[in-house]
Symmetry: C2
Subunit: 327 residues, 2 copies
């Protein structure tokens, strides 16, 4: 199945030197993928080696853009003044049906604002959420929101639960995905007012496979297919986890003399770049956000998420399901 | 300096078999420490080997209790009906000046409620916080609240900041400790309403060494001496971190054939039991909470925290400092 993805190549701390190499890597892995790459044409061309295989070059379309989003741009400013940026034009290509998924490592707030402005939201969704695919002992799982909404209502968390459940079903191919609400304890009475009000709504919806609460240490055990939380605590939990993984990962290279199978495997499994690539879920289009500081492998991981979501025809498969839910 | 600590030996998933062994280990490390151990006398005595050195036996005072707090007891029920429990009597020994610090692995909510009822709070503190000593690249740091207050006001977070700063100064011997507020970003405008209101209060107090925000991945880098957060996101962050550390730690034993210095050191540094032992800060007495599932090393770590706090004469050194702060 042919897939077209659009890439904002100018985003992130390293720009085209990282994003272009990751795109070329993705194209060499997937012979049915075409990339529309948005950015400064000469900067992009500098990253293409003359020896690159013609079968890859033919699937690499460079689209020149006059500007780019800056990491300090305010969302409102960008919506007004950065419509000719690589980020805005990559999103516009989705809107125009020229690509099926878009990836950017640029400013998160601006990416959310431009996505809302250019693509809008899915039916019944008031605010999109940042949703990561988390590698656990028990396969990949979804967790949302991870920072788009730092002051949430129970209604919003309920919408995230519906969105997350359908996405786990469609993109991760999990039947009747289990759903849990992040909390400070497992017993029914635990938690803050927001969690209590949300639990009541989730229990009342029989279309959801809601299984109750989950604590922070259950996330990486894979105790739920979908974990729902407000954007503040979700962001803090994921960043703390990444921090611990990075802390340990950075100590491992010094042990390379000891590298046997088991240790190399462990090192691979806690690689921070594996966490990279989060969906802006609820946007009417597949938009994947990469960390600004991602390396080539990290950005390539974000591209894999986008390709997978496009293959599963999100969000067009999501829209009718959301329309059925009474929310 | 002689120190007396009281221990609720019946708390935790394993009771005296873990707590007594940890107490004996602490007494053998510290020849100036005496332990008042509260619990079922015969269960406690069963854990004392006849070959135990008389110099340790002489510093081990067993105090028989008719009941114990159950993990399912509601705080209000325990305050009414469990005044003769090992937990309540261990706390009462603090109140009566018979011990300088108390450790329990029992039910957190009940420990907080009984501590408030029996010991009360320090001057100017409306609600105590759970405060952990976090091992980082950069030495041990303090983080609070980790779950006592899941719906916080800015006033409460401000009180936690004052408490944490004085405690880092007194117990960790850090001059003018740096203070940061946990948030989803570092820029001034980031975060939810609570964080914004708290930041304003912290900036206005020149007696605090407030340095702005910190993200989840900064916690284990040791970027601040004291990290303040609401109990919901703090609990989630710490448990997620423990989960990742445990996840990785559990994979390491299979590699024991490769054990060289570096790997053994890494294994020791990410040991989950090192996280164990949190202060109930703001209580008028040193109360340390151990994880219910702590092993001997974990409970011993909690005892070390209590002994250290007692040596630094918390909270009697804290009270006059708090009284000076205008809050």
């Amino acid at each position: 199945m042919n897939v077209k993805i659009s890439i904002d190549a100018m985003g992130g701390d390293f720009g085209p030197s990282v994003t272009m190499e990751a795109v070329i890597r993705a194209l060499s892995h997937h012979s049915d993928v075409t990339a529309l790459v948005f950015g400064d044409r000469s900067a992009l061309q500098d990253c293409i080696d003359k020896t690159l295989s013609p079968s890859i070059v033919s699937r690499l379309e460079l689209c020149h853009c006059a500007s780019q989003v800056d990491c300090h741009d305010k969302p409102s400013f960008a919506v007004r003044s950065k419509q000719d940026s690589s980020m805005a034009l990559a999103l516009t290509s989705l809107k125009e049906g020229k690509a099926e998924a878009c990836v950017s490592a640029g400013n998160t707030g601006v990416l959310m604002a431009l996505s809302l402005f250019i693509l809008g939201t899915l039916p019944g969704i008031s605010r999109p959420a940042i949703c990561a695919e988390i590698p656990t002992d028990n396969g990949n799982k979804l967790m949302l929101d991870l920072g788009a909404n730092v002051d949430c209502s129970a209604d919003q968390l309920y919408q995230f639960a519906v969105l997350g459940s359908h996405t786990a079903n469609l993109a991760l191919e999990i039947d009747n995905p289990t759903l849990r609400l992040l909390n400070v304890g497992l017993e029914a009475g635990k938690g803050n007012n927001l969690v209590q009000a949300t639990a009541e709504m989730l229990e009342a919806d029989e279309s959801l496979n809601y299984q109750g609460f989950i604590e922070g240490d259950g996330i990486f055990q894979g105790l739920a297919d979908v974990i729902v939380c407000d954007g503040f605590s979700g962001n803090v939990a994921l960043k703390a986890s990444e921090g611990v993984a990075r802390h340990i990962y950075q100590k491992l290279p010094a042990l390379s003399a000891d590298f046997k199978g088991g240790l190399a495997e462990l090192k691979a499994s806690i690689q921070p770049s594996l966490f990279n690539g989060a969906y802006l879920l609820g946007i009417n289009g597949v938009v994947v956000k990469s960390h600004g500081g991602a390396d080539v492998q990290g950005f390539a991981n974000a591209l894999e998420r986008a390709i997978n979501a496009a293959r599963h025809q999100l969000p067009s498969a999501l829209s009718p399901l959301l329309a059925q839910n009474n929310h």
